[in-house]
Structure formats: structure tokens, C-alpha cells
């Protein structure tokens, strides 16, 4: 028991030493750390200027600012809940003048980037799973056409870099089919992940003893029925851990679509670096945000696995 705590202590010490080393290294370069700039790019409480869209006369009654158009008296615009009013009753305002400010929470670009990354990953996954299942079934099929098509797809995708595939999907497929960048990005990620899922599915099916298929067929089930009711339910359980790993890979791989100007978390990070000149803080923050996403996901999946294991009997 004592020696266990000793080694936990060693672990903590090594981590601490690493942190100190990073800190010491950062002192050797001429860099001013400005962590205080980062939170604003995640979520900010700030004043927002509200501008008139009309040219007209201001009328103020119990905090409500109303603008009555001079060109057309029927055209009015009202501003309520202002924290600061910058005009007075009877003022003449032009289109685009600031009427007042309202403060509130505003979601920063990094958070938007995180949302886009999540959107990309979920959409890509929704397409990747059926693609992968189909290709995986093709891989184990006895039909040469299905088997060779699936094998070609998997080899082609696994043999080329994702970055190149994204370019091909955006510049070639996207142009031919006039896809939006988001569609092209999702398609590239789905097709890429599908190839890996296909291999996971194939391995899962092949791990089920041959006798299961024979027993099912001897009862009169068709190949499809045996797959659906006997083989796949068992294979799914075995493929859950590698499948979860693939999902986490998908989230990380989605950072590559920033090269076709999709404002995901990585692209947002680059934009924030450009406006803050604080690359160290921003990239550490971006890394941490990815980590929160992937760690949360693995936790969720582990729970799911435990529940499956319990029902396994």
C-alpha cells in the first residue's frame, strides 16, 4: 500500500517538474504572457452599441427610445432595455448613429469554433457509420464485386493523407457538384472515417466464431437475417472501444478542414492569434478545449460500455 502511494507521488513530482521546465523555458524567450486576453474570446460580458437604421427624430418615454422617420412617419424603431442612452428627446439622428448601449454576455469566436467543430464531427459521424458498416459488410462478403469495391475504397482512403483528401473534396468534388465548403468538409471527414470504421466492423465480424453463422443458417435464417440478429449484435459490442477511439480521432482530424476556410476551433484559434498577438496562450487554450471535448466523450463512452457489460449476463 505504501509503495503505491510512493509511485503516485513520483507521478505528481514528474508532472510538476515538467510544468516547471516549461515555465523556465518560457522565461528564456522574450514573451509577455497575457492570459487575461483569452477569456474574452471564449465568452465576454460587454457593451454592445445599438444603432439606428432610420433617419428621424428621437422620442423618449419611460426609458424607451423611439425614432420616428422623417421621410415616412409610419416608419418607427424602438429600443428598450438600454443600459446607457446616448441621445436626448427631440434629437435628430441619422441612419447608423449610435442610440445607446446594452451590455450582455456574448459568445466568443473560440466557443463558436468549438460549436462548429462539434457540428462537423457529429455530421461526419452520422454519415461515416453507415458508410463504414456497408463497406465493412462488403469486406466480409463472398460476392467478389462487393468485396473488391469495399477493399478498393478502404485502401484508397487509408493510403492517402486526409489533408489531400480534403483538398480533393473541396477543389474537385466540391466544384463538380458545387458543394458548400461545409458540405465538402463533412463529406471528406465522413468518407475518411468510414474507411477506418469499415476495418473495425470487419474485424468485429471476423472475431465472432464461425459456428454462430452456421447455427443461424442451420435454423433456416438467410445470410442477412443471421448478420442482423446474430452476428452484428455480438460484433457491435466488441467494436465499441475501437469505434470510440475512431470518434475521438474524428474530432481531432476535423481540425484539418480549417484549411478550406471553415471556421472550426483551429481556424478560430488562428484568427484570435492574429488579433491578440498571443499565440502561446491561444494555442494552449485551443488544445485544452479539444481535450475537454475528447475527454468528455471518452468518459461518456466508458459509462456506456459499463452498462453494456452489465447487461451481458
Amino acid at each position: 500500500m505504501n509503495s503505491r502511494w510512493f509511485w503516485h507521488g513520483v507521478y505528481a513530482l514528474v508532472l510538476l517538474a515538467l510544468a516547471l521546465a516549461i515555465y523556465a523555458a518560457s522565461r528564456t524567450v522574450d514573451y509577455t504572457w497575457r492570459w487575461d486576453r483569452v477569456p474574452d474570446y471564449i465568452v465576454a460580458y460587454e457593451d454592445v452599441d445599438l444603432r439606428s437604421t432610420l433617419t428621424g427624430i428621437v422620442e423618449i418615454s419611460d426609458g424607451q427610445v423611439e425614432i420616428i422617420g422623417t421621410q415616412d412617419a409610419a416608419a418607427t424603431e424602438t429600443f428598450g432595455d438600454l443600459d446607457e442612452v446616448l441621445v436626448e428627446d427631440g434629437d435628430y439622428v441619422f441612419d447608423g448613429d449610435v442610440i445607446g448601449t446594452r451590455s450582455g454576455w456574448r459568445i466568443g469566436p473560440l466557443t463558436w469554433g468549438l460549436v462548429v467543430t462539434l457540428q462537423l464531427s457529429i455530421l461526419a459521424l452520422l454519415f461515416a457509420v453507415p458508410i463504414g458498416l456497408l463497406a465493412g459488410l462488403g469486406r466480409v462478403s463472398t460476392n467478389p464485386a462487393a468485396r473488391n469495391l469495399a477493399a478498393t475504397y478502404v485502401e484508397l482512403i487509408r493510403g492517402t493523407p486526409l489533408l489531400v483528401q480534403i483538398f480533393i473534396f473541396y477543389f474537385f468534388v466540391g466544384t463538380v457538384l458545387s458543394l458548400s465548403r461545409m458540405t465538402a468538409g463533412v463529406a471528406a471527414l465522413a468518407v475518411f472515417t468510414g474507411a477506418y470504421i469499415a476495418e473495425i466492423v470487419r474485424a468485429g465480424i471476423e472475431s465472432i466464431p464461425k459456428g454462430q453463422m452456421e447455427a443461424a443458417r442451420s435454423l433456416g435464417m438467410s445470410y442477412g437475417q443471421a448478420m442482423r440478429h446474430v452476428i452484428l449484435p455480438q460484433a457491435m459490442r466488441r467494436t465499441l472501444p475501437p469505434m470510440a477511439g475512431q470518434l475521438i480521432n474524428l474530432i481531432k482530424d476535423s481540425s484539418l478542414v480549417s484549411v478550406i476556410a471553415i471556421t472550426d476551433l483551429t481556424k478560430a484559434g488562428r484568427e484570435v492569434v492574429n488579433s491578440t498577438f498571443s499565440p502561446f496562450e491561444v494555442w494552449f487554450t485551443v488544445a485544452a478545449m479539444y481535450l475537454v471535448l475528447t475527454a468528455g466523450l471518452s468518459l461518456l463512452i466508458r459509462r456506456f460500455e459499463l452498462r453494456l457489460a452489465r447487461s451481458d449476463g
Binding site: P209, A216, L219, G220, M221, Q234
Partner: protein, 245 residues
């Protein structure tokens, strides 16, 4: 509800050139119990598996209830339902409960309703002495219990013929009796049975005829009373000497 099996000049050559079956012909009448014995590698399991086409043939055919198995196209799945099979390794579906194992094929293949299948499954379970284990998973049962569930699962499709592929070979010795009792029961009800087995006692007591196979051929076929008294020095004599010692 019982039907016959006719094996006609069946030959089987594996991809690696091994001749597993060499022009085997055998006729099993409805209600007959036929035991197949022989040394390992003699082709007895392969022969049994050609009856429901789990094994394809290089030449010849098998008629099940008068219908060709090896030229069947789409009707193969329907034909297979006439032959229930019990495997050496049980091959129960581990992700389903005992009851679901038994009801799966009637529900999905025959499209029967749960209200008709469930009582039948339950009475089959009672019959194999496991009436209270319907909600268990296969992994919670002993080998002998699993094999009895496997028999009930095959019977749930109401087959005309039952094929047993070394049903007791993977069992602990104390589990063998229970499985054999279920099989004896089945035989006494007039089920056509083809049994590949090493249980000579069962063959002697239950079989109508016993087949001795060697090198993919039927070497000897006889009623049990004659089968177990072979000419001394014959191959069957040597084989029996080894297994009965």
C-alpha cells in the same frame, strides 16, 4: 412429421486436395436413428454437414424429404428448416437469453407471433429439463445445459430430421447422460436422427443402424447387434478395440 434423408453418391474434395468424402451413398428412412462412428478425419462430420449444405459437395446430392438440397436455390433456407442441427460446441447465441435463443428463428424466419412461439419454447425447455432457466444467458449454464438448450432451439423450428454433430464430445463426463437422455427421448418419439458420435453405448442402445466410416467412405453398416460383433482383424474390429477399451 418425420422424413427421410437420401445421400446420393456424395463426394467432397477440399481446396487443399484432401478427399473428405468419396462417393458416399446412404439412405435413412423416416423415423430411423442412424449413428455414424469412425476415427477422426474419416469424414463423418463432413458427411453430416452436407445434409443441410453447411458443407457443399463436389459431386452427388442429398435429398431431404425427397427434395434436393444441393441444387436448391432460393428454397434452401426453407429446406434447411426441415433439418435441425446440434453442434459439438453448442453455438448458442451468447447475447440472447435461453428463451430468446429458442424463439429467434421461429419469430424471424417463420414470422410466427410471440404468443404461439413462447408456449412452445417453454414446453421444449420443460422437456429438456430446463423449464426454469428461460431468462438465463448461455454463459450462466453448464455445458450439458447449453447443449440441451441447443437441442430445444433446433426443435423449435419443428424439423423433420435432427442432425447431431458429436453432441457430447465437448462435455464433462457427468454432463453426457442428461444430453443422451434427451436424445433417447427424441428417438423414441420417432424423430429421424443422424448422429455422429463416439458414444458407443448410445449407438448400441438407440440406433437402428450404425455406420462405420473411414477415409471418406462407408466401410461398414449394420444393425447394432451385428455391428458390435465384427469379424476379428477387420478395421472396424481395430477401431472398436480402441474406443471400447
Amino acid at each position: 412429421m418425420s422424413a427421410g434423408v437420401e445421400i446420393r453418391n456424395v463426394s467432397k474434395q477440399f481446396g487443399n486436395g484432401v478427399q473428405a468424402l468419396d462417393d458416399v451413398s446412404l439412405s435413412v428412412a423416416a423415423g430411423e436413428v442412424l449413428c455414424i462412428v469412425g476415427p477422426s478425419g474419416s469424414g463423418k462430420s463432413t458427411l453430416l454437414r452436407t445434409v443441410n449444405r453447411l458443407e457443399t459437395v463436389t459431386a452427388g446430392d442429398v435429398l431431404l424429404d425427397g427434395e434436393s438440397i444441393h441444387t436448391a436455390g432460393r428454397q434452401l433456407n426453407a429446406l434447411r428448416q426441415k433439418a435441425g442441427m446440434v453442434f459439438q460446441q453448442f453455438n448458442l447465441f451468447p447475447h440472447l437469453t435461453v428463451l430468446d435463443n429458442i424463439t429467434l428463428a421461429p419469430l424471424k424466419v417463420r414470422g410466427e407471433s410471440m404468443t404461439t412461439v413462447k408456449p412452445r419454447a417453454q414446453s421444449l425447455l420443460d422437456r429438456v429439463g430446463l423449464g426454469d432457466r428461460g431468462d438465463s444467458f448461455p454463459s450462466q449454464l453448464s455445458g450439458g445445459q447449453q447443449q440441451r438448450v441447443a437441442i430445444a432451439r433446433a426443435l423449435a423450428m419443428q424439423p423433420d430430421v435432427m442432425l447431431f454433430d458429436e453432441p457430447t464430445s465437448a462435455l464433462d463426463p457427468e454432463m453426457v447422460g442428461g444430453v443422451l437422455d434427451v436424445m433417447k427421448d427424441l428417438a423414441s418419439e420417432g424423430m429421424t436422427m443422424l448422429v455422429v458420435t463416439h458414444e458407443m453405448g448410445f449407438a448400441r442402445a438407440v440406433a437402428d443402424r450404425v455406420v462405420f466410416m473411414e477415409s471418406g467412405r462407408i466401410e461398414h453398416i449394420a444393425e447394432p447387434e451385428n455391428f458390435f460383433e465384427p469379424a476379428s482383424g477387420s478395421r472396424l474390429d481395430l477401431f472398436l478395440g480402441q474406443v471400447l477399451r
